[in-house]
């Protein structure tokens, strides 16, 4: 049987202080993965089932020598949102953040935003939920109190929101709602602010730039302070918008459609999609990003490789492969103390899983610091509706690898973390002095033994 390779995906890339109309001195990168693993659809699970899995750090005022590095996690299909803490003794705990009770439906989170909603200096969590949106406020006692969002966000849309971009500094959330448009919501420190939007008519964008389903978002400050830039990824192209953040309605204007016109050997044509797209800010460089290039299976067994994307002045973008001996499943980025970028890469070669480190030293220069055999087996939860075999999804679908600097901020130590809803995996990296190779320590912490996918439960 022929299957339609309808795996279309679009990436939203916001460069600049989005802030829903206000200038921002500080923003953060947020987003979800796009994973168009061709036309692979198994047991109805669909290829997009897990793309909204999320893992983000949560900022809290530091108390003493606290290095708990809390993370907030959302694994689509599981019961909700969890906070993962490192305890003083080095162990980890996963604490569910319980949604407000409702008799209407079963909670099904599809989007996370981390921001200080109530302006108390502590990060809170905004949860977009197919049932009912909610906000989890940091109670200052180590826990969270879930509440309805009405007090903080007026009319926050309930729907299948593929994109959620949050601006920690401005208490603003940009939500793509049901593939119809973007809406901007801003917390007013306890005062509801009417939504502005939709600020982008997605249907017209789709026609203009041959784009389709939204799946990935990046959000970062502009490197030159020259305003906002919004890039929607289509098939081998980006629609670039400039945004006037001072306008009340956050005016967006289509600036150009970027295409890839030149190809580096052995590539001959654009990827259909750039998965796991992440901004890679490097001082003195044009806007850059990192991604895994993908095409539908019918275009041949194209190996999944790391790609560096560059957006120079003009209507083009360039793609260069980071040559690795293995296929890439996912990757995470972290800024190094020396201004370089450190990329943690998870992949597979013939002998099994591989963890690798790449240091990006300049706009078009990088070096592989090393590769180490590792253990990595991302799981999906049981889904009784599909029998004992459950839904099967490709191994690259929805896998996030979060890069972070060591909590002390003074040593060349970095962490790359993944959580599949069962096990927390941490790769701790200590960079060596001079030519000394990095030291990588892998850790697997079992937080749950068995879980059930509520999406598919009868």
């Amino acid at each position: 049987m022929k299957k339609c390779a309808c795996a279309a995906f679009v990436v939203l890339w916001q460069i600049g202080s989005l802030g829903c109309g206000s200038a921002a001195a500080h923003t953060s990168i947020r987003g979800t993965d796009a994973s168009p693993d061709g036309a692979t659809v198994a047991n109805g699970a669909g290829i997009f089932t897990y793309i909204r899995n999320d893992l983000q750090p949560v900022q809290r005022p530091k108390v003493g020598t606290d290095s708990s590095l809390p993370l907030v996690s959302m694994v689509v299909g599981l019961t909700g949102v969890e906070i993962i803490h490192r305890q003083p003794d080095g162990t980890f705990t996963a604490t569910p953040v319980v949604a407000p009770p409702t008799a209407q439906c079963v909670h099904a989170p599809v989007g996370l935003a981390v921001m200080d909603v109530d302006i108390d200096g502590r990060d809170d969590i905004v949860v977009l939920d197919l049932c009912e949106n909610w906000v989890a406020l940091d109670d200052g006692l180590g826990g969270y109190t879930a509440t309805r969002p009405d007090k903080y966000f007026a009319n926050l849309s309930v729907g299948d929101s593929a994109l959620v971009i949050d601006d920690t500094q401005n208490g603003a959330v940009l939500v793509e709602s049901n593939n119809q448009g973007f809406e901007c919501f801003r917390s007013g420190g306890g005062v509801a602010t009417p939504p502005q939007g939709p600020i982008v008519d997605l249907l017209s964008v789709m026609q203009t730039a041959n784009t389709s389903v939204f799946a990935t978002a990046l959000y970062a400050p502009s490197s030159d302070g020259g305003g906002n830039k919004l890039l929607l990824q289509g098939y081998g192209s980006f629609a670039e918008f400039h945004a006037d953040s001072s306008a009340p309605d956050f005016a967006l204007s289509l600036e150009q459609v970027r295409n890839q016109r030149s190809f580096e050997e052995p590539y001959l044509s654009p990827f259909w999609g750039l998965d796991h797209l992440q901004l890679m800010p490097l001082s003195g460089c044009p806007d850059m990003a990192l991604a895994v290039g993908k095409v539908p299976p019918k275009m041949g067994p194209i190996p999944l490789k790391l790609q560096v994307i560059s957006f120079p002045t003009g209507p083009e973008f360039t793609v260069r492969e980071v040559k690795t001996s293995f296929e890439v499943t996912t990757m995470g980025l972290v800024s190094m103390r020396n201004g370089h970028m450190l990329i943690g890469v998870l992949g597979f070669d013939a002998s099994g899983a591989v963890f690798s480190l790449v240091e990006v030293t300049a706009c078009d220069q990088w070096q592989i610091l090393g590769s180490w055999p590792t253990e990595f087996d991302w799981r999906t939860p049981d889904a009784p509706a599909f029998g004992s075999f459950g839904p099967r999804v490709p191994k690259s679908n929805g896998i996030r690898l979060l890069g972070m600097a060591a909590p002390d901020g003074i040593t060349d130590k970095y962490m790359f973390t993944n959580y599949d809803g069962f096990d927390l995996r941490i790769w701790e990296v200590t960079l060596g002095e001079g030519q000394a190779p990095p030291v990588v320590t892998a850790k697997r912490v079992r937080l749950h033994a068995t879980r059930m996918d509520i999406s598919f439960a009868n």
Partner: protein
């Protein structure tokens, strides 16, 4: 016998026309698979319609080289409106629709072997999976796909006597 063949052909044609919507057509009774025992099943003056993942067309008529198939039963019975190619494979004439392909990497062939992705001259970059030797005027018109050499490296196509040639590569049809 003729009636049976017509029935099979009509059934298969239905499968072809609806293959994007209907599953299981490949399991129709009487269907012949590419590279199977077709020579035993097909009379010399007849052809059968065949559809597999890599082939949609008619098979019929004995041959030695591709040119023998220009007036073959397969050519006579071929009833699809599509870009097609006629060739001799394993002693039998084949006429089949070619499928479109897109080359993403020069070292990865998106077509089902032994077909290779070949750009159509003057088509603005359109390419199809072909099994026949690729005619050329210069090497620049030869396929973008470069099969791996014995040492794992890649070679270069050359245009010799109007036909594209590649080190170590033998055209599957002549």
């Amino acid at each position: 016998m003729r009636l049976v063949w017509i029935f099979l052909s009509l059934t298969s044609a239905f499968c072809f026309l609806s293959m994007s919507m209907v599953s299981g057509c490949g399991d129709e009774p009487g269907m012949v698979t590419d590279g199977g025992t077709a020579s035993d099943a097909i009379p010399d003056d007849a052809s059968v319609m065949v559809r597999t993942d890599g082939f949609t067309g008619w098979i019929g008529g004995v041959c030695i080289v591709n040119a023998d198939c220009l007036d073959s039963p397969a050519q006579r019975d071929f009833a699809f409106t599509c870009a097609d190619e006629t060739y001799c494979l394993e002693g039998l004439c084949h006429v089949a629709c070619v499928s479109q392909c897109v080359m993403v990497r020069s070292d990865v062939n998106p077509c089902i072997s032994p077909r290779i992705c070949t750009q159509l001259p003057g088509s603005g970059g359109m390419a199809v999976c072909k099994i026949t030797p690729v005619p050329c005027t210069t090497a620049a018109t030869c396929p973008l796909y470069k099969p791996a050499l014995a040492d794992g490296g890649l070679g270069e196509w050359t245009c010799e006597n109007g036909i594209c040639q590649y080190p170590g590569y033998v055209n599957p049809t002549q």
